[in-house]
């Protein structure tokens, strides 16, 4: 077993004591050295051969220090600690070689999470893809799509995938995975001011290898407990925790769906074809999104319950809507319903069904390194 030899660098005297005690109480971790002065740690710490360095990010000149520590301890993981997480500074630290950011004071669990959890597949950062799934009206098939797409992406690439159920009144994601979560987006939102991506991780419920979910509210009145600001912070953090983040939002344009769409790299307009006025709804939505100068790159359309689910049908819809269609999903109501009623994924149920094939195709498109507009269907 590898020893976790921690060197603590902490400028604040009180924190130095408090954090030292926490580290000493944490199993499988040894506090080998501690310094208040970062320069001392650089010069003297070497003799203790730490492989984990907790570095106080509230120290002046932290960016230069990070580089120096990195050179002095090339084999050690550097975990930045600070009183408050921010997306901007945190990504600066990570880009400068830090492994992650931990809000202090942290608990033993959080410390262990920081040490171990992030040894999993490469996490997000600036290459992470955040996708918001918007639908004009409810009953679009987007929850099914997101759940299955997340599984397909992770299977295809082994990447870490996070789902955020921000459909704040009637989110169904927990249901689709048969979860009875202890913590949901409500608790995460409540705690955002004290959280970092490492600690937020524990609010996500793992559902498969590399796929985890931040579940939605348990009852509609809790919508008020999730402020837009905290939702934005959660999305910011999720971007550093996962390579792919899929966000489910309430139907229509509302503060939640707008905030999530603004923060996403791609917003999918998901609509189920039911023989109603879906085309008008999509066009009405596109009118709003077209206020973004780059909306043609950022906004894509996915149609569900398309029968027959053929390239001709897709092209016809593109013609009618007057906008490219990124993906079409066939009608698989009974498969999906059976799967959802049992808390399973439709992909698991019938891996070779047309539904699974279309979802796998979409997952391939999303995970492709170089984006192209080839219509290979």
């Amino acid at each position: 077993m590898i020893n976790n030899n921690v060197m603590l660098v902490e400028g604040n005297r009180l924190y130095l004591e408090q954090l030292s005690n926490i580290i000493r109480e944490t199993e499988t971790v040894t506090l080998v050295a501690r310094f208040r002065d970062a320069k001392d740690a650089l010069g003297q710490g070497m003799v203790f051969t730490p492989n984990i360095i907790l570095l106080d990010a509230d120290t002046p000149n932290i960016m230069n220090l990070l580089e120096e520590f990195h050179q002095a301890y090339p084999h050690a993981d550097i975990i930045c600690t600070g009183e408050k997480w921010s997306a901007e500074s945190s990504s600066l630290y990570v880009n400068a070689g830090a492994k992650c950011f931990l809000v202090k004071p942290f608990s033993s669990e959080e410390l262990l999470d920081a040490i171990f959890a992030f040894s999993k597949p490469a996490t997000g950062g600036k290459d992470a893809k955040v996708m918001t799934f918007f639908s004009p009206k409810g009953k679009s098939g987007k929850t099914t799509l997101i759940a299955n797409l997340a599984m397909a992406i992770s299977r295809k690439t082994n990447a870490s995938v996070g789902i955020i159920d921000a459909d704040l009144q009637f989110g169904d994601m927990a249901f689709f995975f048969n979860l009875k979560p202890q913590s949901t987006i409500v608790e995460a939102a409540r705690d955002t001011d004290f959280l970092s991506p490492v600690s937020l991780n524990s609010y996500f419920v793992p559902v498969a290898k590399n796929v985890s979910i931040l579940c939605g509210t348990k009852e509609p009145s809790l919508i008020d407990k999730v402020s837009i600001h905290s939702l934005e912070t959660i999305i910011d953090m999720a971007r550093t925790m996962f390579q792919y983040v899929l966000i489910d939002v309430p139907a229509g344009f509302n503060p939640t769906s707008i905030a999530a769409a603004e923060m996403a790299d791609t917003t999918y307009i998901v609509t189920m074809l039911n023989g109603g006025y879906e085309v008008q709804h999509i066009q009405r939505s596109l009118d709003i999104f077209s206020t973004w100068p780059d909306y043609r790159e950022r906004v894509k359309i996915i149609l569900t319950r398309v029968e027959p689910c053929t390239i001709t049908a897709k092209q016809e819809m593109e013609e009618i809507i007057g906008y490219p269609v990124a993906g079409i999903i066939p009608n698989a109501y009974l498969d999906v319903a059976t799967a959802a009623d049992d808390g399973r994924m439709a992909l698991d149920l019938k891996p070779n069904s047309p539904l699974s094939q279309r979802i796998n195709y979409l997952a391939g498109k999303i995970t492709k390194k170089k984006q192209d507009n080839d219509d290979d269907f």
């Binding site: 004009p136 009206k137 409810g138 009953k139 929850t143 009144q169 009637f170 169904d172 249901f175 689709f176 009852e219 509609p220 009145s221 919508i223 309430p250 139907a251 229509g252 344009f253 189920m272 039911n274 023989g275 109603g276 006025y277 008008q280 709804h281 009405r284 939505s285 009118d287 709003i288 109501y333 009974l334 999906v336 319903a337 059976t338 959802a340 009623d341």
Partner: protein, 270 residues
């Protein structure tokens, strides 16, 4: 003076599951009431993506946005000339269409919309309101002002039923009179693994009225833009819609008890 005014009945169609048929049923209820001679106003308060104007092929000159502007201007002018008339073979009613531009929908204040309703309820026997499927500020205000709230459900897969249950429970927490909230089941026998009795048992409540699944008639009605109760085809669904209206207007619909003999309801409830 006050005695000359009518204080119209406001019937709101609400649901916490989407695509349950709120629009189709509210249009048919408005049509049936109008056919029976009542003065009726149908309001599309799915402000962003309402479909009443699409369904009835309306090209309105004024929408709820204009009505709100007029109320705010406090001109004292009647709002009625700003409503859009729908007429089919001698039957007509007035419509408040949703905004033409989506961004208008986003900026309308719920208080002003309620003021519009308060004003119009003096002019109509019935105001039928179509809504969105969530507990928004507007919807909560609409529930408050309504005489009757029809909470629509369908037999669907479990996530939908879960949302119906949560919605129904939330409605109960609002402490309305039990008479005010009426649970109506639409598309009761649609293709799913879930049985009606499962839904009743999950909700812990019987349905006040049940409409059976008639996808073909419904789709044809949407395709032609003619409400079911006006298109001259007396399908089972049409009759059930008329029966629902009869119950709402207390016009002596006989099978108040669901267990009435020969009713297909009795088979389901037995």
């Amino acid at each position: 003076m006050a005695e000359e005014q009518i204080n119209g009945v406001i019937i709101t169609f609400f649901s916490t599951a989407s695509a349950v048929g709120k629009t189709l049923i509210s249009i048919n209820m408005a049509s049936e009431l109008a056919r029976e001679g009542y003065s009726v106003c149908l309001a599309d308060f799915d402000l962003q993506f309402g479909d009443i104007r699409n369904y009835l092929r309306l090209t309105p000159e004024y929408t709820i946005t204009d009505l709100c502007d007029s109320i705010k201007a406090d001109s004292g002018n009647s709002l009625m000339p700003m409503l859009t008339t729908y007429a089919y073979e001698g039957v007509s009613f007035q419509v408040i269409p949703n905004p033409t531009k989506l961004e208008e929908a986003y900026n309308l204040s719920p208080e002003t919309i309620i003021d519009v309703l308060k004003n119009l309820r003096m002019q109509y026997d019935y105001i039928i309101v179509d809504t969105t499927s969530m507990f928004s500020v507007l919807n909560l205000a609409l529930l408050d002002i309504s005489t009757i709230v029809t909470f629509l459900g369908i037999v669907d897969f479990i996530p939908t039923i879960k949302n119906m249950k949560i919605g129904n429970e939330t409605l109960h927490t609002l402490n309305y009179d039990s008479n005010k909230i009426r649970l109506v089941l639409n598309r009761s026998d649609s293709k799913t693994h879930i049985q009606l009795k499962d839904v009743v048992s999950i909700l812990g409540e019987d349905f006040y009225h049940i409409l059976h699944n008639d996808f073909i008639s419904a789709r044809e009605s949407i395709a032609t833009g003619i409400p079911l109760v006006l298109n001259g085809q007396e399908s089972e669904l049409t009759q059930e819609l008329r029966a629902l209206v009869a119950r709402y207007t207390n016009k002596g619909y006989k099978t108040m008890e669901p267990q009435k003999k020969n009713s297909w309801l009795s088979k389901i409830f037995s």
